[in-house]
Symmetry: C2
Subunit: 325 residues, 2 copies
């Protein structure tokens, strides 16, 4: 059995129900919007985030319909931000398919993203937990603020590990924390259970983003991503290069610190920077950070071990760290 099947095994029936509810929340009488939604439904990704909501609830007992609505809200909000990110980054492809801005245009994509956000709000209502509405509002603020900070960090070129962790906590980990919290809340978790699961979510989310950022240091053949160094080209300095530029020594490091601030980087410049990050041990360092986070995340789950759902959550963690794309 592959790892994704193992992850989904404790919540197989719930995943079917989830996708029915998602389709129901997005249904409209608008012909163009219906085509947009059908495209989305046919290309939906691995749905890691709603899986986390469902698994968090499963840890504590049976999965109620409220949890499925909570998982729907999270998945719709997440996809709204992806749709808008593709506009922001002018991306033409996602999950091997054309993006909405590529298939239609930016106008349709901006409005479709807005439609997904309000559909998420409606789904959250069905959880009948006002606290979940609050989580969604905070999360929406956090995600957009995280992306805006990243633009502003990119304008300033900040090479600072703490600033990097603040950005990825806000733009990625916050969503994973919310997944675990919504799963816990809708399943009637105690305060302590909720906190343990949220801590797990934060550590998992940080690993997820660090791993994503590592991919950017390798070529398409190596990891199946379109380009190497596209983050650096956009002025986003991620953990491996931050490590190299702050722990490297001598004149080469000085030269690299100067190079990274150039206003337009050529592909040769980018290759020099990614090579340097690797040579000084930036990738090893980032992988070490993930291992430490993994151990901490495992400890968060100890009150729930052993159980099938806890095993599945550990499998999500290992999948996140070991995945090759």
């Amino acid at each position: 059995m592959d790892i994704l099947s193992k992850i989904k095994q404790p919540i197989e029936a719930e995943m079917v129900r989830l996708n029915e509810v998602i389709a129901q929340m997005l249904a409209s009488e608008s012909p163009l919007l219906t085509r947009v939604v059908e495209h989305y439904l046919s290309t939906k990704g691995k749905q890691i985030r709603p899986i986390l909501v469902l698994l968090a609830a499963r840890l504590l007992g049976d999965v109620r319909l409220e949890t499925i609505y909570g998982a729907t809200a999270i998945e719709l909000l997440h996809n709204a931000t992806l749709i808008h990110d593709d506009v922001v980054d002018e991306s033409k492809q996602r999950r091997g398919e054309a993006t909405l801005n590529a298939l239609w245009d930016n106008r349709v994509a901006v409005l479709a993203g807005d439609y997904f956000v309000s559909s998420a709000t409606r789904a959250a209502l069905y959880t009948r937990e006002i606290k979940i509405m609050g989580i969604l509002g905070d999360l929406g603020q956090s995600l957009s603020q995280g992306e805006i900070d990243q633009i502003s960090v990119a304008q300033d070129i900040i090479i600072d590990e703490k600033a990097y962790f603040n950005v990825i906590r806000q733009k990625t980990a916050s969503l994973f924390v919310a997944c675990m919290q919504i799963g816990a809340l809708t399943a009637g978790a105690t305060e302590a259970q909720q906190q343990a699961l949220m801590n797990f979510g934060e550590k998992l989310g940080l690993c997820f983003q660090i791993k994503d950022d590592i991919f950017d240091y390798f070529t398409a053949d190596e990891v199946g991503k379109p380009t190497t160094g596209s983050d650096i080209a956009e002025g986003k300095i991620t953990l491996p290069l931050i490590y190299a530029l702050t722990h490297g020594e001598g004149s080469e490091c000085d030269a690299m610190r100067e190079l990274v601030r150039k206003s337009e980087l050529s592909s040769e410049d980018i290759n020099r920077l990614t090579d340097y990050a690797k040579r000084v041990g930036g990738i090893d360092y980032a992988e070490g950070v993930m291992q430490r986070l993994r151990d901490e995340a495992v400890a968060c789950l100890s009150p729930f071990m052993p159980s099938e759902a806890a095993g599945a959550l550990l499998a999500v963690l290992d999948y996140t760290i070991k995945r090759t794309k």
Copy 2:
């Protein structure tokens, strides 16, 4: 006293509190986002929508803090859609000031709009009325769907009064209905009072959009708008031209019906169409529709007459119909 001062007179103290709450909901620690928010706070418009929320509540008694949070939610959601509309339409100016996409870029504007939406969700939470969260979710869906429909109508060039009213009901009137409903709900209105105020809101909202659409048939000197016929250029056929194309006769009307379907309209084509709409009586017709809606709207307020707040709501109605920009 000018008409806007008269409108705000019954809610003067509440308007001050409203703007404090808006600033508070948008506050963040992000430097770029703070600059964006400061720009918005310095150029906020006439705030007709939150005024409606506050006046609807005032009709029924004292304005509670919950109403002010409801008005904040509406104003933030409305401004989120304006920010995204400016991206969608590539507008460089609004309210005589540079738009966010012009001052920064589309990326910042898309994300800032998302930040405003989630700030609206947070404000709505403080109303402690789960029904208001539902109104906000429905409204968000309705607004984005209305805009998407308009793109799709523009692709098809539909000359149909019923389709026109469906679009403007969804993209404009729905927001005015929500204003009145939120004001009523937070002030403890009866079901009948709530319905009467929502009906008022719908008629007011339809007038608002018809009036906006009429401006597009006149030159900058006449109404202080940048261009004539920009709706037609985008393929949006509004009420005056719909009337002319469906009630005109003979070969000239046939020629106009053919012209409007041309894929690229020159400014001469647009002038011919706007002139034709005027000659056949399209503007008079649209003004007649507004008058009829006005009378119906006045009737909705009769249970609340006479009162200062009802007088102010009538002043909003007359302002909407008579305004010159």
